[in-house]
Symmetry: C2
Subunit: 368 residues, 2 copies
Amino acid sequence: MAVISLSRRLRRTAFSDGVEAAGVKGYTVYNHMLLPTVFRSIEEDYHHLKTAVQVWDVACERQVELRGPDAGRLMQMLTPRDLRGMLPGQCYYVPIVDETGGMLNDPVAVKLAEDRWWISIADSDLLFWVKGIAYGYRLDVLVDEPDVSPLAVQGPLADDLMARVFGESVRDVRFFRFGWFDFQGRSLAVARSGYSKQGGFEIYVEGSDIAMPLWNALMEAGRDLDVHAGCPNLIERIESGLLSYGNDMTRANTPHECGLGRFCNTQTAIGCVGRDALLRVASEGPLKQIRPVAIEGGPVPPCDRPWPLMDGQLQVGQVTSATWSPDFETNVAIGMVRITHWEAGTDLDVVLPDGTVRPAVVNGVFWN
Amino acid sequence: MAVISLSRRLRRTAFSDGVEAAGVKGYTVYNHMLLPTVFRSIEEDYHHLKTAVQVWDVACERQVELRGPDAGRLMQMLTPRDLRGMLPGQCYYVPIVDETGGMLNDPVAVKLAEDRWWISIADSDLLFWVKGIAYGYRLDVLVDEPDVSPLAVQGPLADDLMARVFGESVRDVRFFRFGWFDFQGRSLAVARSGYSKQGGFEIYVEGSDIAMPLWNALMEAGRDLDVHAGCPNLIERIESGLLSYGNDMTRANTPHECGLGRFCNTQTAIGCVGRDALLRVASEGPLKQIRPVAIEGGPVPPCDRPWPLMDGQLQVGQVTSATWSPDFETNVAIGMVRITHWEAGTDLDVVLPDGTVRPAVVNGVFWN
């Protein structure tokens, strides 16, 4: 196992001191920033996430802030999702595509006000695209990366922990909505969202100076709830079918191939970049699409490259995320499968990097 | 020491099989791709780089290709360096700035033809910015990431090794020029360039299928030259004053602050984004600038965050890269220092993350 060589370029976060004190054992890099991957073991973290509550440093979900008279126009240019009905206080999952309809990012848009938005991004420098578009169209809008560091509180006991720190009314925040809650005199946006299916919140911590005080307050308040430092968990996120930009989809894919067609209103999203390119696939559907895939046999190795999915000698897709699931006692995986082979129950073979071949089955639904 | 968690999102390169077989021990992530950081030890790699020849997987220097009638116009929009005199066959180091004059990348532009360029990028998704500008200005140009993987051959014996694989005429390639050389029937651009001051070449390997054949051919041909797999070396690059985007400079810095004023022709680079913002700093000079800094005492820890440079209680700069140099028997460092304190010989203090304070001196020149 190779170590990660630290440098300023792999940015520490406002919570890194807490993460280190909690004994982080592995990292990935996400938006040029450190993202923890494991604390005790991936499997131990997984069981704990499903039964208790965890605090996650997801500061790497950087924000792209749009501010000014053209902020709303620019936001609609970025996504084929129709934003006309969206209100301040709402969060929308928005595919962002380039002029060819290829995915550039799959962030959550946070509408703070009619003229102010945060885009909470996946792993690509979306800021560069947004700045380029704003400049090219001479829009009257400021585009920048603010000092905002998301902190996630995830797990079945998340509501209890959050209520102790932010008050009982935090329980009333609805899914993909956010409210403003006070912490040490600072008003913070708290959304019911997060990269797990175990329930919980994301706190948009504005101002690095209160990051560690908040981290410590959550750890202190949750001691009897068995709160632990955690992180997005590979097993849980695959079981839950939570896609990962760069893993399960890239710029080569349309939103429809990623199963995100329900977030595209290509006809009505007037002014959206990539609209022309997406109209046909929006009406006819894609030729390949993301599917849950179960891989037979014992635990597979880390999926560090696409694994071909075969029907005999014919490649009909690829697996892009995979791991052993202790709860479901199979290898759970996410794959992109051709239309001819994507029906639930289809038997395929997957070829691992060492050349071994494993039976695999296309599933109808994800596990969680 | 934390491990790096591998996933498809941290892309393998066309040379990863060779890198693994050579026993890579550490990685960083660069342009969403694995970049080796150490093979035997950083110090052993360093001594070897200075005396023999190494083959480096720098495929993470991804290319942004510009192709079409507006390619030249777009290229000039991207940089304050005047490109009018540049000929096909030349490489230019080009600062790329946004509309505020902030650095977005510090790549090498490779002019293949009047209407075809590669931009060999540092660690940011420059593709997104270039695509945004091209779209916003409705330019007649294709912008994409081609299947081109740079492989560097660096060290004092680089000419000898390259001549064995590409023929004697490769010795005639001049600094920051490239020529076309044949390998297994494929014509490859070979430039005299690279991220060390030990001399050598970068081969723009077009087509992943010939990547490992070339890697193996170089390893085979150089056996008696003691060729080894290597990588950009932290010690050598700091001694040589080779800047690293994301470490020594960010979007917060102008090219002039980075000492790259000599690559800016802000008056004559007509059409360049950020020209207005840079005109004043181009004529008056910056308020802070990158300097070599020597830090006294024994080896410093890894520089994973900016270290404040102090004059008493006053912060006058920061160190952004630092390491112990065996050859110069001091800690070599790169810092950004205010105009009031940047003269060679200025005595400062540097504050390490654990709170300890070390004497530091601003140097007049880098070490190599």
